[in-house]
Symmetry: C2
Subunit: 428 residues, 2 copies
Amino acid sequence: MSAYQELSTPQLEIMLKELRTQFADFQKKGLKLDMSRGKPAADQLELSMPMFDVLNSSSYMKTEDGFDLRNYGVVDGAIDAKRLFGELMGVSADEIILVGPSSLTLMYDTIVRAMLHGVLGGSKPWGKYDKIKFLCPVPGYDRHFAICQNLGIEMIPVDMTDTGPDMDMVESLVSKDDTIKGIWCVPKYSNPQGITYSNETVRRFANLSPAAPDFRIFWDNAYCIHDLYDEHDQLLDLFSELKKNGKANMMFMFASTAKITFPGSGVAMMIATKENLDFVRKDLAVQTIGPDKINQVRHVRFLKDVNNIYDHMKKHAALLRPKFEAVLDTLDRNLGEAGIASWKKPNGGYFIALNTLEGCAKRVVSLCKEAGVVMTAAGATHPYGADPKDSTIRIAPTYPCIEELKLAAELFCLCVRLASVEKILQTR
Amino acid sequence: MSAYQELSTPQLEIMLKELRTQFADFQKKGLKLDMSRGKPAADQLELSMPMFDVLNSSSYMKTEDGFDLRNYGVVDGAIDAKRLFGELMGVSADEIILVGPSSLTLMYDTIVRAMLHGVLGGSKPWGKYDKIKFLCPVPGYDRHFAICQNLGIEMIPVDMTDTGPDMDMVESLVSKDDTIKGIWCVPKYSNPQGITYSNETVRRFANLSPAAPDFRIFWDNAYCIHDLYDEHDQLLDLFSELKKNGKANMMFMFASTAKITFPGSGVAMMIATKENLDFVRKDLAVQTIGPDKINQVRHVRFLKDVNNIYDHMKKHAALLRPKFEAVLDTLDRNLGEAGIASWKKPNGGYFIALNTLEGCAKRVVSLCKEAGVVMTAAGATHPYGADPKDSTIRIAPTYPCIEELKLAAELFCLCVRLASVEKILQTR
């Protein structure tokens, strides 16, 4: 980072004035755009509309093993759906449960159950400790952090590197402290940087020797098949690696069809050893008489098989690619030479993360808002909403249409430049 | 109860022999029937099959207030569904939240939230007490009791009377002990007796002055519109009564469309004051990004309006009435004069409760099982599965078809007679 820094103060002052004029022009446009959340756009949702035709009033309404979809029963998911999504995730039908429409809820409930009743192999419920802790790779997913905060779990930030979390730090922390009970991971196309963990990182996860026997890796595989390009990132399968090491109980994996079919109305999955799932099922049988099997089988009949799911995801990619490229192109053109921001080009997922000069992120987000573009709150990518460097901004390019997105990206770059020039001048 | 008791021992021994022969004949029939759970039968499920035609790939996919049903958002339910079900339950749209497909889960989660974070007006989370207690009218619903047991909540049985729980006992207990945090109620067509609480009972609930400021009445209105006859029981509205007394925050009401449309794939409702719900929403916003709005609006477009829902329930009643009457008729014919059992005739709901002579219920259920008919486990109607008199049996007549049901009811009566004669002879 240098170019803007090397300008003289009078040069920067002239630039600031120009930028402010441009900003005022933007404000006049009366934009009302949202780049804050990883939401699919309407055209993506249209891809799954035929799902509404697969069940009608004369459809066959039983699971493969003969349960009436429309009645009570089958606590942990219809076998049809377990088979299809098990195959998709590379696990057998007894290593997957399908509960509810949202993996976020499944993760929350999993930790709640652990708070109240512990997990397999633990000596007591997590809630019976004075304090328990989770490792949180940063930047990370704000809703993971919100779960910890809601449940009173202390969060320890761990730096992300280009290959995943800093594993030296992870190994060192978990081996010493038996109150560290978990780590949040989005291992493929991480939220928000789009980093895929390297094979070495996954192998080191599979080799962890935590002090706590009830430590769990929360492997939120939210973007497992959410590639933008045919040549996409490959994530080594943690579950297989753990099995090789006899440590398979250490993992809870999560995924959902939220960004395959419909967010909020999809199928959420938890993948773990049968032993782990048997432990969970004891509580599940009290909490529920069964999930929405109709919607699970509707998904199976629409998605058909794993190859068809991959084809379906290519349609999503075709809609998403131009959006990511438009934003990245705008960032390159506007900020590429300025030395005031850095970012990575992700090959999938739903986000781009941008780092500003220290102390600029909040100002950028605030400026965007003044001109009608809502960004994810600065700090949201860090535990307790506190980014110590105030520099990470999460960009969610998926929801607006491409014309609006280009405009929003231009505005965003303008705000980054404006905030940066202000900051450089302040510090002189 | 007397007739059988008055027979001489030799007479009873002859009868026992006859009953055993009849029982052996039943065993040869190879029955395989289930009267254990309150499940709708297939013909009831057919009533809602047209719901699968109301949404198709060209349907309008927004809520009344413009949210895309297919995307993230709207944490506590689509406004369309809040309006319809709010009207059905006699509350405004801001006194109802619609979360998930099952009221059981909603109840479980509500208590879990209270364990972890307390409820409005409480001084600390319920889980921070050494011990908390719930009052449990008995006989009652086994899944309510299972929730308490799962969460370590001590259960205090309260006798049911013909007008609801023994209110002298309820008033006395809650006024003295601030660790009593709740009471389970199925106020209309109670599970399993089919009793509807009298106006006086409801008014006394509305006037409770519990020692615990965070005491809640768990008003599980599972059978609110589940009448068998046009002339049906009328339940006074607790919420209105509480409001008159300025005590509206004392109630959490639950209901669902499980037995209106499809169990497991319906819409679950929690009704409470806006203040109570605001408190709940704080956690809900962390646990979920939103419920399945598509399914909620599918329900609204199928059910249309409150009058139509009542018409729909009449179709259920037409299918259920003959089943209840067949069982009641069989009970009358076989046990009416024997003086070995008592029961009530419910005007709605899903169950009939039968009381045997003391110490016979387990034996009856076990005999039924030997001949291929599964009943709800004896004791299930009581906390910890322990019926001190071993005399209550819950009959669920809804699931089998009528021919099978008649056969199962005959067998059941035979088992009651057999177990009773055995018992009388043992005690001589």
